[in-house]
Symmetry: C2
Subunit: 110 residues, 2 copies
Amino acid sequence: MTRLTRTFAALSDDTRFALVDKLIRRGELSAGTLAAETEISAPAISRHLRVLREAGVITQRAQGTHRYYAANADALRAIHGWTMDHRAFWSGSLDRLDTLIALDPEGDDR
Amino acid sequence: MTRLTRTFAALSDDTRFALVDKLIRRGELSAGTLAAETEISAPAISRHLRVLREAGVITQRAQGTHRYYAANADALRAIHGWTMDHRAFWSGSLDRLDTLIALDPEGDDR
DNA sequence: CCGTTAATTAACATTTGCGTTAAAAAAGGA
DNA sequence: TCCTTTTTTAACGCAAATGTTAATTAACGG
């Protein structure tokens, strides 16, 4: 898996996406706080946090028995960068998009 | 699954990501063309295309026995929009390439 | 030292995802 | 009609993901 597909994989689960969203909106939160606000068990949350951390989407900080997690801005920037790389494709009006498609008629088969 | 997590899931596989990337760069392409340029079998590609289509990441057009696929700009806009929603979080320091490299702890960029 | 709290790891069951080959469906041409 | 081409669907095997409960590790406080 490339770095970007790994990032997408980390965000492809609703529970993990919600965790990341909380961390972005509210800043650093402990594993316990995150687990308490979710339906599923603490061990499940712990593993989701691990997946996110290993994908580089969040960071971890230890303080005593607590583990504080925070969203990693670099992951957001990487996704943003990818969309910007293809901005010419999706930006602008529908008319403009139709023009782009018409100008690049790879329609024929080979 | 929400709309966005479904989009991320569709893009979380390297084969599917590469298919979308081709369609963005080169415009509409047939299933056969896409399958011919990939290592795995045509049925496998067909199913990947189905996953992408059902997630709204690509569109399909029939012409005779051919099926032409194209990237859906709306999906790209949705991802871009999500990153922009959280721009205040990550837009602080536009960093260099080494921070992006540090995102992948194993360095398996391929 | 002992008991409590915070978090993770272990073990397990179940589901989902992804690849293969074989078969089927649909359009086109001789 | 029969054969070929294009693409998808079917059937199957196997690996990975996700949830649970139980056990373990580590820090804190009396």
